[in-house]
């Protein structure tokens, strides 16, 4: 028996659910297939969801969503051994609407978002793996799922099946990721009383902090460490290039252990209880690695489309997923109303996306991926900065010299051209 619907979405993460929500609100018949035991079962974040698109989709989200903490402080930390320079970008207005971002845990957050789509009329089926697309005359007309129904047909299929989207490859829309276009995130969740988190992170009650850290703990591997404050837990992890892990013969877990040994990080997690460990790939190829985003009867959104921006300070994915999902939902609605879900009928998706937060951010930061593969960024500069600042706050043997003279000595031997080039590229790509 074959079931039929207007829009079939593969994957109930933020991209798929935003597409489902948008199409269901327009009165379409929407089915979402999610392979996890429950919505959110396969999903992992650092992480913080930026509120811009979420507020557009669900204006009263702040009253209802299972959010952890509004992020008031974004802290950039450059470490070298036991030394750490922390730059705190604080903004107390982020505690009030429209906020800027909230820390979240994905099982609760994704489940809530899916309930919003259900309330709008979408049907969400969990435990349903999609194996293949049904193609007729080059047009996607449905999917083959591991369900009793087997085949499901739809006017538009939205692929929101994540970074390991096998279906986007089968649809001929994307080729396999190149190894240097993916990063591996590993994350631990540490339970700690809320008051302890407030105190250690210097937060007023219930406010949040997000840490982005680079330094010698990375052992020269492109990537970074992160720490996010949840209500009564800390998300602690690293995102690193798996190819470089192999080159250096270290595991992501060893890098993470080194990160947690930094005194400024160790004091935050001390005495906590580990409650979960996880890993996930991040598509970090950027604008240059974007696949074809639409075809006959099919649209690709979120991680499946590689919509992630790494600005060096911030790894932004969920916001882009929500935004691209919304654009996919709108494009599907428009195509179905015109009775034209051919490639030409759905090309509107790319036009919408072109004006969206998602694609404009990808374009703005298109130079970042190449910059962020440079090793000296992750070791040399954090060391240099800590050396320079140590000179400022310490008195060594011999006569004290003025700072400019010390700085000149520190910079000697560094390739001035490299420094200038990196500074210039950094300014252009971030």
């Amino acid at each position: 028996m074959t079931e039929t619907c207007d829009v079939l979405v593969v994957g109930a993460g933020p991209a798929g659910t935003a597409a489902a929500l948008t199409a269901a609100r327009a009165g379409l018949n929407v089915v979402v297939l999610e392979r996890g035991e429950y919505v959110g079962a396969k999903n992992l974040t650092g992480g913080m969801v930026l509120t811009r698109v979420l507020a557009d989709l669900i204006p009263d989200y702040a009253d209802r969503a299972p959010l952890e903490r509004p992020v008031e402080h974004q802290r950039v930390m450059l470490t070298d051994g036991p030394r750490a320079l922390t730059l705190d970008i604080g903004n107390a207005t982020f505690l009030d609407p429209p906020h800027n971002g909230f820390t979240v845990l994905r099982r609760a957050f994704d489940a809530w978002l899916a309930d919003e789509a259900r309330a709008a009329g979408a049907v969400i089926v969990t435990g349903a793996v999609v194996d293949d697309l049904i193609l007729e005359r080059g047009q996607v007309v449905g999917v083959r799922a591991r369900l009793p129904e087997g085949e499901l047909r739809a006017s538009v299929v939205v692929l929101a099946d994540g970074v390991n989207s096998l279906l986007a490859q089968r649809a001929g829309l994307r080729r396999e990721h190149r190894p240097h276009d993916v990063s591996l995130g590993v994350k631990e969740l540490w339970r700690l009383p809320a008051a302890v988190i407030d105190q250690r992170c210097g937060l007023r009650r219930g406010a949040g902090a997000a840490y982005a850290v680079i330094g010698d703990f990375l052992q020269g591997i492109p990537g970074g460490g992160f720490l996010y404050t949840n209500k009564d837990s800390l998300s602690v992890g690293v995102v690193v290039s798996p190819l470089d892990l192999a080159r250096r013969q270290v595991t992501a877990d060893q890098v993470l252990e080194g990160f947690k040994r930094i005194p400024e990080i160790a004091r935050l997690t001390e005495g906590g209880q580990l409650v979960e460990y996880g890993a996930h790939l991040v598509p970090e190829g950027g604008y240059a690695a974007l696949p074809q985003l639409s075809g006959g009867g099919v649209l690709v959104a979120g991680d499946a489309a590689g919509l992630v921006v790494n600005t060096g300070l911030l790894l932004m994915g969920m916001n882009l997923a929500l935004d691209s999902g919304r654009c996919a939902g709108q494009a599907a609605v428009a195509a179905i109303r015109r009775h034209d879900s051919s490639a030409a009928g759905l090309a509107d998706y790319e036009r919408r996306l072109g004006q969206s937060v998602a694609l404009t951010a990808m374009r703005a930061h298109r130079r970042a991926p190449a910059l962020l593969r440079r090793e000296r960024l992750f070791v040399t500069y954090p060391r240099l900065v800590n050396d320079l600042l140590a000179d400022l706050v310490t008195v060594g043997a011999g006569p004290k010299q003025p700072f400019w003279r010390l700085a000149r000595r520190r910079l000697r031997g560094k390739d001035a051209l490299d420094l200038a080039q990196d500074a210039f590229r950094g300014a252009r790509s971030l």
């Binding site: 079962a41 957050f109 969990t126 591991r146 993916v182 892990l245 992501a252 409650v275 890993a279």
Partner: protein, 86 residues
């Protein structure tokens, strides 16, 4: 803390059919990168080459992208790694 102890904190609903198969024919020409990139330690160097077990897999997909000998599929619906917090 040892990675093995961390992995014990992860909830798995084991699928009896392996979702990943490896063809070790390509190992001879490889740098054993799987020993380092796999966050779950599913690959191990043994006396007869690389040994693989899928049960503790976190489904990140690193091997799918980095190992030419892997054929990778999703576990059965509702099976495999099941994050409780995410």
């Amino acid at each position: 803390m040892d990675r093995v102890d961390k992995l014990l904190q992860v909830r798995h609903v084991v699928d009896l059919n392996p979702h990943i198969q490896i063809d070790t024919a390509c190992c001879a020409a490889c740098d054993d990168r799987c020993l380092w990139f796999c966050p779950a330690g599913c690959f191990e160097a043994g006396p007869e080459g690389i040994a693989f077990q899928y049960e503790g897999c976190l489904e990140c997909g690193s091997c799918r992208v980095l190992c030419p000998g892997v054929s990778w599929d999703y576990p059965a619906g509702g099976r495999g790694v099941t994050f409780r917090f995410g």
